[in-house]
Symmetry: C2
Subunit: 399 residues, 2 copies
């Protein structure tokens, strides 16, 4: 008599995780250095040494009961304050402590934000290509995720489709820029136009439509690009941030939700999150990690390797003849497969120990994702293999 | 248009937290050392030094990408294995890795376990006095919590009431021994009798009834007492454990759920928890803390102070004339108030800077809880004040 709903979910394994597990197993056979594992978005550069130093120093000197003691359910006040101040300084916002809620990464932030601003049966719009876990976060809030088809020319927003789908049922729009899986950074024009349409519809429908901005890749933006701060453009907005990528701490499960001080019920949302977390049984991220992160808010890992990898891969993919939009950030690239069925394409690539993720689950069939958060040396070694694969399987001749 | 359900919850603040906040504020006026703050169950002894040493050593020597990298969503395999082996050795169980799911403390374990073994509208029984957050964990699973009235003679189980309430609608029974707030440890006889009744009803109703055992105080058991391991007595059982109390790490949010290998669908429950955590947005406890805890599984903080405090307080309370059952573990004691209305009683105690928690929220009106996880010196200094309060307000004369 265990719960049948959750039992049924056991069949819905993540394709990313399956491929990553395959890569690990294959690595045991042929040496992991020979598996070109582009499956998982797991940072490949260490956390900043300042983070480690701060944490060690705290463990050595501070009172253990302070650093390991209960955190208030909204997060440690000094940490929330430091985050608010850092965001204000960088993005000209006016966050106060009460607008910041500490979370278990961006995942926790999104799951809480969605519960706050939707009710069961509401529609939530997101844009293809999108991170497949959104289905679960939106499902957890009992709302319904609707996916606006991709603009595959640029991977900016397909506004025609968006305007059509932004009906009265929609109470939240969920965006992710810089984007997983496309690597694209939404331009200022894109965000402004999105905001204008949403404002107009709010007025027309007479109800709030919240913009939830998933921003774990905010700091991974390449030369010449700039990622606008989404909440500057729209009042009813909530930012969901994670230190997983910028500080290379994905296992520590730390991030936050920042409520736009100008949104409806701005003073209540973080408090509501505190209440929501009670039923979930997860009260807040680890206390010692909160305290250590607060000391290095303006640091990042050395993220330059991702730009180097982007350059190498983009050039190679174009050379081979892939249709691909140049990523402006993240550590993903999102080419069109060399046959219509991206699953078949990725299956064939696997024979060459190239682990690529078909994008059907990202709402963009026919494309695939490469997570290039791997050693640059491996990226380099993968390029001849990519070329060989394209030549032998698809007859693409490259020099 | 924010979610009205969660908004309404903002009025339901925890009385414990309110009193704790009052104590902190009052401490700023008169010095916290003068506030006899018995409100919060926050450990007052540091974590074992071995924990700190292991964590520092790991931070210094190990690859940051390993210690801070993504943990699998069920927890780090080596950690789960170490926990299974430790439990097997200590309690003669046969747990394997697949039965252990790492959680954000016992709260996370309970929230996941309840979702696994109930469906919406099912009834979950628990026993007064009980930890008020159970309402939220059960509510999160959309099941209905029913509270079996207390046996105030001994704070063991009121079996007459239990047998009456254990109807066909019940799919889970939630127990907590050693108990918060009573401090009582269920005897072997109590657990055996509980198990026998549940077995008989499973047969009668033709469906599983799961026993969920909340065990954060398992290691805090005083001289002469023994806390039986609940899962030895009943097959359809799940243990929910936390390192918050035994290792004094409440802020680090780490615990686990251990599925009885003999229960229905024993191989599926941890996997289901992994699926459930996707919608919640909380995948697993912090990676570095998982790894460090695994190194000190058989250590505890120096818990002897709690027994010392128990002795002092129990003796004083009996001397004053309180009706009180002697706690066998935890760091709580649960006397009957000196007037019928425990809220009024605690309000009056506050005038003496004695911060006591009325037990209405614990399902036991007329009683109050004292969390004596505080300095022994403060416990000693509080005793004359307790006596003065009882004398001046209730005319109780004590030497």
């Amino acid at each position: 008599m265990i719960n049948e709903t959750y039992k049924a979910m056991l069949n819905g394994k993540s394709i990313i995780r399956e491929l990553s597990e395959y890569a690990t197993a294959r690595g045991k056979e042929i040496g992991y250095e020979n598996v070109f594992d582009y499956s998982l978005g797991n940072p490949s550069v260490p956390c900043p040494k300042e983070f480690t130093e701060e944490l060690i120093s705290m463990l050595k000197k501070a009172d253990p009961m302070t650093i390991h003691g209960y955190s208030p359910s909204l997060g440690i006040e000094s940490v929330r304050k430091a985050i608010a101040e850092s965001l204000n300084q960088r993005f000209g916002m006016e966050y106060e402590v009460k607008h910041i809620f500490m979370t278990s990464g961006a995942a926790g932030a999104l799951a809480h934000a969605l519960r706050c601003v939707t009710k069961p049966e509401d529609e939530v719009l997101t844009f293809a290509p999108f991170f497949p876990e959104y289905e679960h976060y939106v499902g957890g809030a009992k709302a319904v995720l609707k996916v606006v088809p991709a603009n595959t020319e640029t991977f900016q927003i397909n506004f025609a489709a968006f305007e059509e789908m932004l009906t009265e049922k929609v109470t939240a729009v969920l965006i992710n820029t810089p984007n997983n899986p496309s690597g694209i950074v939404y331009t200022k024009e894109t965000i402004q136009r999105l905001a204008n349409i949403m404002k107009e519809r709010q007025k027309k429908f007479g109800h709030d439509i919240f913009l939830i901005s998933d921003e774990p890749y905010r700091e991974i933006v390449f030369t010449g690009e700039k990622a606008p701060y989404v909440s500057q453009f729209y009042k009813n907005s909530i930012s969901a941030y994670s230190y997983s990528k910028s500080l290379s701490l994905p296992g520590e499960r730390i991030g936050y939700l920042a409520v736009n001080p100008k949104c409806t019920d701005a003073d209540k949302i973080a408090l509501m999150c505190g209440q929501i977390s009670r039923g979930i049984g997860h009260n807040c991220p680890p206390s010692s990690i909160q305290l250590a992160v607060a000391k290095v808010l303006d640091k990042t890992s050395d993220l330059s390797v991702y730009e180097k990898n982007r350059d190498l891969l983009y050039q190679a993919l174009v050379e081979i003849g892939f249709s691909v939009v140049k990523p402006g950030g993240t550590f993903y690239i999102f080419p069109k497969a060399l046959e219509e069925d991206a699953k078949a394409f990725c299956r064939k690539a696997k024979e060459y120990d190239l682990i690529l993720v078909p994008a059907d689950g990202f709402g963009c069939p026919g494309y695939f994702r490469m997570a290039y958060c791997i050693d640059t040396d491996k990226v380099k070694r993968s390029i001849p293999i990519l070329k060989q694969f394209a030549r032998e399987v698809y007859g693409v001749s490259v020099c």
